[in-house]
């Protein structure tokens, strides 16, 4: 048995083996902690965007879209954000488990903590409006935008189905306003008798549920404020 220590020392000497420097191990550990923090951060941002998308979705307009409620829910879920939240939560767990201390904690505690951090951080970001900004920016990117169902252009640019959205360009009087829609066309909207709880002013962005009554003519029944961003309106003629 004494032989073994000699053999080991001999091999260490012959192969010029030296202990790896401490910074390599510290660096590796820091890398996993950093990756954990980044994963949790991205998870929180994605959660805030998901929250913004969920709260700004009009869950009650399924009849106008010719959908049943279940169908409407499935077609409106922001899958991209759900996938990002799940993916980065898993990454956070993986990175945490690979830190030096990670093995000490039960998986259920690690999973719960990671999810709670994402939810709390994500809700805070959502309340500051950051979630909406992120959702808007991503929705505008060509490869990602189409992956997000319930995009305003898909949902609200259907005048023939009673859904119209855009920017008020002129309030003619208490009964008629002019609106530039999501593809840059101008509509005369009659809103006498329509339900709304917001001031209708030029530059205001709104969503209208109602009925198309003629060529670029629309009768509003309900007018809603367009919360947050995600309303891309092409430039039209100025008035």
């Amino acid at each position: 048995m004494q032989d073994l220590s000699n053999k080991v020392l001999e091999e260490i000497k012959n192969k010029h083996i030296t202990p790896k420097p401490r910074w390599q191990f510290v660096g590796r550990d820091l890398l996993f902690w950093g990756a954990f923090a980044v994963s949790v951060g991205i998870g929180a941002v994605a959660f805030s965007a998901m929250l913004d998308r969920i709260t700004s979705t009009d869950w009650d307009i399924y009849p106008q879209l010719g959908r049943n409620p279940v169908n409407h829910v499935f077609l409106s879920v922001p899958y991209l954000w759900v996938v990002v939240v799940v993916l980065f939560s898993l990454l956070a767990i993986y990175n945490f488990r690979h830190t030096k201390e990670g093995y000490r904690y039960r998986p259920v505690i690690v999973v719960t903590t990671s999810i709670v951090i994402s939810i709390v951080g994500g809700t805070a970001l959502f309340l500051t409006g950051f979630g909406g900004q992120i959702d808007e920016r991503v929705a505008q990117r060509p490869p990602l935008g189409p992956m997000m169902p319930g995009h305003p252009a898909d949902v609200w640019q259907h005048p023939e189905q009673g859904l119209l959205a855009g920017e008020i360009i002129l309030v003619e009087n208490d009964e008629v306003l002019n609106l530039r829609d999501l593809i840059g066309e101008t509509w005369r909207v009659a809103y006498a008798g329509a339900r709304f709880h917001i001031p209708l002013l030029p530059g205001g962005r709104i969503k209208i549920i109602g009925e198309m009554t003629g060529d670029r003519l629309f009768q509003a029944q309900q007018i809603r404020y367009w919360r947050g961003g995600r309303l891309e309106i092409p430039a039209g003629p100025s008035y």
């Binding site: 220590s5 000699n6 083996i17």
Partner: protein, 192 residues
Amino acid sequence: MAKFNTYQQKTDEELVSLSLKNKDAFALLVNRYQAKLARYIRHLSNFDEEEAADILQEVFIKAYLNLNDFDKRLKFSAWIYRITHNQVISQYRRLKVRPQAVVAVDDESIANKFTDGVDLARDLDLKYSTAAVRAGLQKLPYKYQEVLVLRYLEEKSYEEISAILRKPVATVGTLISRAKKELQQLINKDHI
């Protein structure tokens, strides 16, 4: 020689620090652990003596290479057992065979350790029970074998097993409890 004698008094953890400056201090760690780790490899695998010796040598080389990774808040023994455990598993992966422990239960006292708290049939005589325990252990899944080996043959604490297997302490407790229950079922199935 005088230096070597001074080193004899040092703790494992102190020897790790000294080994970074002087290779001879590492030789003392090798001497302290080679017999224990050789036995652990034997319990944890069915490798022949030559293979086991190669693994052991590789374990100490790896330990030396990674000395700076040793966390002084942990026991050195847990750290070197972890390297040994990983080395055995790596060897199995290299050979592309499933790990198989050979849990040597040679006498009644060891058998009693495994069955302590397990409600085995009271009328089994000790000799019979030793053979039954040995047979039952061989049939256990590897994850249970390795945890029982560490607890009852290597006499490691839950904390140490947690560090060796990199599992939470609570999970180690659950594994040990499940392992003993399954062992009881296997023994009952075979002998009652």
